[in-house]
Structure formats: C-alpha cells, structure tokens
C-alpha cells in the first residue's frame, strides 16, 4: 500500500481522536482529579464521583455531565478526617467553615478546634461509625467530607453532598503532597494550596539531595498486628516512598495496594526479622507507650527485630491533625531514619517506644 496513503489514514485517525479531546486544565492527584473549566471546576473524589464547583452567584451549566453541583466557596462543612480538618487550619478558615466533626473535644490537640467546640461553633456529630443524623442535619452543612461511602444514601436523602476523601489504593508521595489541591477549590484557596504543595515538594527535593550518598540505610516497616490480622502500608503508599527517599529501605517493597492492607503473618514476620525500625498505627491514646506494653498487648510482635533490638515509633495525636505541616512530618521521619544527616529528631509528631 502506498506509504502516503497509510500516513494520511493514520493522521485522520489521530485527528478524530484528538478532536474529541479538550485539554482543559486537568490534574490527577492519585485517584482524585481536578479539572478547571471556563466557569467552574470539576473534581472527582476518591471513588470517582464527580462534583461541579460553581462560584456562588453564577449559574451552573445545564449539562453537568452527571456531576453534583456545589456552590463555592463552601461555607459550612463537616469533616470526618483529621487530614481534611488540618487543611482548613492551614488555609486559616477553620472557624469560618467547619461546623461538625466526628471526634470528641478531648481527642483534639488543636486549641482552636477545642475552643470552637466549647463555644458550640463546631459540633461533635457522633463517632464516624455511629453518626447522629438529626444533629448532622441541624448544623446544615453544605457538604460532608467523609471516608465512609455508606452514609451517601442517607445524606442524599437530606440533599447534602458527600465527598469521599479516601481512595481504594494508597496515595503515593506526590499524590499526598498535592492532595491539598483537591480540597482547595471547594474553598477558593487554590493559591494557598499551590504554596503548600510547592513547600512540600521543596522539602522532598531537599531530603532527596541530602540522602543521595547515604551508605547505611536502616530497614523499615510500617504497620501493625491486630488479633492475628496484619495491616501494613504498601510499597506504593506515601510513607513507604518517603522512607526510601529519606535514606531508608522499605522491607515491604513487594506489597502493593490500599492503605492498611492486610497481608499474611508470614510475610510480616519475614520483614519484621530484618527491620531496624517499625512505625505502628497506634497512637499513645491507646495506652501503648512502651515496647513491653506493645508486646503484652500483642504477643505475636514480641519476636520481631524492632522490638528486640531496634526502634519502634508510634504517631502522636498531633500527627493526624498536621497534614498542613507535611513538610515538618517528612523531615521528622527523615531525621528518625538518618539522624546524622538531618539532626536528632524533635519527636513532635512521633514518639519512640522505650
């Protein structure tokens, strides 16, 4: 077949393909997406549900493509996840927009949240597994940020949009850094989000530059054992990627999947025998502050190397409320792994079990 005809044929195919493409300003953040259009922003949450963010005062287009319309900036939000609450703190709009949470006042370390709860500005609407829907309805939220997809039908009955803020696969480092850009359009804080993500990216570059020549790389695992079930952070999770960047070796580097992924006990113990450092999920709130207490609570962990001769760290409550300080969290993890390079850790976000 003459070459010219072949090339013309292929060119026609691509012309058809690309004519269907409207480049727009699209950004994927792990499973989340943000697409800026002329008069609105279309985002998709952790399970792919679309939302069209339309500035207040403007009219939503007739064809929303199945997206739920939300008028922005959002003025009243309920947030299940401390991560989302921390970004509201970072944006400086916590007091103005947050109206409901699923943790009691005693569980928060942030003084402004505790004060607002005292004043009744932020309401505890019940534990995330036992929501008081009457109370939820009474605070009249514009949206609910939640990780629990099961409440969607009940919120739909109340005409309250629910945005799912977790995903089926663990967020990588880049996605975790940029996640703030998913939250920002709801509150017209895109510029602030850009500042945050640039700061986080610069920290990653800094950490990478300092650890490129490191020879001694401690082995690390991140997970825990609960009633013979092992839950770990997979290799594609941001913490595992950060460990590798910070001069560590992540022992579960063949494990891929969602955050808090269940693996076999055998695989965990294989990693546990080699690991120098372990990060658990349990905070001091669980009452576990020493290795001995951890071993008593979970005898299966008594023989792993971080327990016998290595180090075990657990996240403090402030860790979960400080995703707007992700750069500082990353530096603390780096200093735990490489104290000679980054200095002695301040232990603001993690505690070392004695």
């Amino acid at each position: 077949m003459p070459k010219k005809q072949v090339i013309l044929f292929i060119a026609v195919i691509y012309a058809i393909l690309f004519s269907a493409c409207d480049m727009g300003n699209f950004e994927s953040i792990g499973s989340f997406t943000v697409k800026k259009q002329k008069s609105c922003t279309v985002v998709s949450d952790g399970i792919g549900r679309k939302f069209m963010l339309v500035p207040r005062g403007e009219k939503a287009p007739e064809n929303t493509g199945g997206a739920t319309v939300i008028y922005t900036p959002v003025k009243r939000v309920i947030a299940f996840s401390t991560c989302d609450v921390s970004f509201l703190v970072g944006f400086g709009i916590l007091q103005e927009v947050l109206v409901g949470v699923t943790r009691e006042k005693k569980d928060w370390t942030n003084e402004s949240i505790r004060k607002a709860m005292d004043e009744g500005k932020i309401v505890f609407i019940g534990d995330s597994t036992l929501i008081n829907y009457e109370l939820l309805k009474s605070v009249k939220p514009d949206i609910v940020f939640t990780w629990n997809a099961a409440i969607i039908p009940l919120l739909e009955d109340l005409n309250i949009p629910a945005v799912i803020t977790n995903a089926q696969t663990a967020m990588g480092l880049e996605a975790q850094i940029k996640y703030v850009k998913f939250v920002a359009p709801f509150f017209h804080k895109e510029r602030e989000a850009g500042v945050f993500s640039n700061k986080f990216l610069k920290t990653v570059e800094y950490i990478k530059s300092k650890t490129s020549d490191v020879q001694q790389r401690p082995s690390v695992i991140w997970g825990d054992v609960y009633n013979k079930r092992v839950l770990v952070e997979p290799n594609n999770a941001w913490v595992a990627q950060l460990v590798k960047l910070s001069g560590g070796k992540y022992e579960l580097d063949d494990v891929e999947g969602a955050s808090c992924l269940e693996i076999t006990i055998e695989r965990f113990f294989l990693a546990g025998r080699k690991a120098d450092i372990m990060f658990t999920y349990r905070s001091p709130k669980t009452g576990i502050n020493t290795k001995r207490q951890l071993a008593i609570d979970n005898p299966l962990m008594a023989s792993i190397r971080p327990m016998t001769s290595g180090q075990i760290y657990s996240p403090k409550e402030i860790y979960y409320e400080s995703y707007h300080r992700l750069d500082e969290i990353m530096l603390e993890i780096a200093s735990i792994l490489q104290p000679e390079v980054f200095g002695v850790p301040h232990y603001e976000f993690f505690q070392k079990l004695q």
């Binding site: 195919i13 994927s28 997406t33 597994t129 696969t169």
Partner: protein, 270 residues
C-alpha cells in the same frame, strides 16, 4: 486492478496481519511495563469511558500512555485487515462447499469463525468503553428507593442476607461473609418486579445489569452492623456483543482444536 481493489488487497493481506499482530503484542508488553511503573494512571479505566480517560489521564501522562494511542490505531487496522481477509477467504471456502463434507467445512471455517468472533469481541469492547449507562457507587440500604439512571424506573433494596463460612482449617476465613444475596424490587410505572442479585451474580432488568460491588457487614461479628449494598448499574450494548464474541470464539476454538489434536488434517489451507 482498480485503486480500491489494490487498497483492499493490501489492507487485507496476511503479511500485513502478521506485522499488525506482532505490533499489537509489542505495544501491549510496553503497556504492561508502563502500567507497572505507574498503575494509578490506568486504574481510572475501571470507571471512565475511553475518550474521557484519553483526554484526561491519557494526555496528562504522555510518557506513560503514548502506547495506548498507538494501540488504538493498530487495533483499528487489525480489525479492518481481519474483516477483509476473513470475508474474502470465507467467500472462497463457501464457494468450494460442494466438494467437502460438513465436518470438513466446519474445520476449514473454524479459523474464520474465530476471526469473526474476534471482530465481535473488539466491537463489544469498543462499545463498552464509549457509550452506555455506567453508574457506580449506588449505595443502598434496605427500604431506600433510588432512580435507575437513564430511566424512570425506581429500584429498592428489599432484603439482604449474608453467608459466613465456617472453615474447619482456615481460621482467618471464619465468620467472614463470603456471599451476599439481596432482593431488588423495580418499580416501573404501576408495575413492580423482583429480582435477586448476589455477589458475582448480577440481576438483569430491561437491559440493565445490577452488580453487587460491595456490601456490609463484612463479618458475622462485624461492627458497625448497618446493612448496605453498593451496586454498580450498567446498561451497555457492548455486553451482549462481548458475550456473543466469547461464545462464538469458543465454538471456533473447539472446532479447530479437536481435529488438530487428534491429528486429522482436513483443511487444505493448512
């Protein structure tokens, strides 16, 4: 030979087919490598339509998705090639039918049955990923009604039952709900109709297929105990095409394999 005839001859040539098949394999292996490096780019294909994915994730990550664009072109050419080649050869074989027994004819036609089935399969995939109603995350609790997308039909989850396993040797499976069965009621005008759906057992109603994507509670002793089922609702002409393609291809495979493996050679093409 006229221009059209030359073009048909070239597009339908076996040599071209062989090159296209090798090209397709190479692109798929390349895609496997790209997906292994960054799986997150491709996971959205589970819920997005093809062109939506191409214009968003596809164009955002050209270094990881360039092969996909090429693959579409190659598959299109392969489809055209297969159609022309198979149509011409099938016509020729049917022309010779007076000289052959029925079994011999079927064996001779079997590769072309597979080729036609391949075309139907590819068409089915294309239709699946470009049109139809695809609705995810339809989380329903018993007693709650919702509209079936793209219609005036309402559906309600009536009953849901869960089946734990009592495993004699594997403790980790004990109490785990390995199956879920539910009754779904469809309200269409004044009529109502009941269907049963289960895990890996969708129910069908007026062209819609209702799949159980997830459910709660997951264990017999689960907390929280609230009952919900997450349905995926689809209505897509690609599915019947796809199923037809599978059946026809399997028939073609069986017709081809049986005589070959029992050493009967009745196909002059081979």
């Amino acid at each position: 030979m006229s221009m059209i005839s030359k073009m048909l001859h070239a597009l339908g040539s076996i040599r071209f087919a062989v090159y296209l098949l090798l090209c397709t394999a190479v692109l798929l292996f390349t895609g496997s490598v790209c997906q292994n490096i960054e799986p997150g780019i491709f996971v959205p294909l589970n819920s997005l339509m093809l062109f939506d994915w191409l214009r968003t994730f596809g164009l955002e990550n050209p270094s990881r998705t360039w092969w996909f664009f090429l693959l579409i072109t190659v598959l299109l050419l392969l489809g055209i090639n297969t159609f022309i080649c198979t149509a011409l050869r099938t016509a020729k074989i049917i022309g010779l039918r007076n000289h052959k027994s029925i079994m011999a004819m079927l064996f001779t036609l079997s590769p072309h049955i597979m080729h036609f089935a391949f075309l139907i399969l590819m068409t089915g995939y294309f239709v699946l990923y470009t049109c139809g109603i695809n609705s995810y995350n339809n989380i329903m609790k018993p007693g709650i009604q919702r509209h079936v997308p793209g219609s005036d039909i309402r559906m309600e989850l009536r009953e849901a039952s869960f089946y734990p396993v009592d495993h004699s040797v594997n403790e980790s499976l004990n109490d785990l709900h390995v199956d879920a069965k539910c009754t779904v009621v469809f309200f269409d005008d004044d009529k109502s109709d009941m269907r049963t759906a289960g895990l890996n057992r969708p129910c069908f109603y007026k062209g819609y297929s209702i799949h159980v994507a997830d459910f709660n509670p997951k264990k017999a002793k689960s907390m929280p105990k609230d009952v919900w089922i997450n349905f995926t609702i689809r209505k897509n002409a690609g599915i019947p095409l796809f199923i037809a393609g599978i059946i026809i291809f399997t028939v073609g495979v069986l017709l081809y394999v049986t005589p070959v493996l029992s050493k009967r050679k009745t196909n002059p093409d081979h």
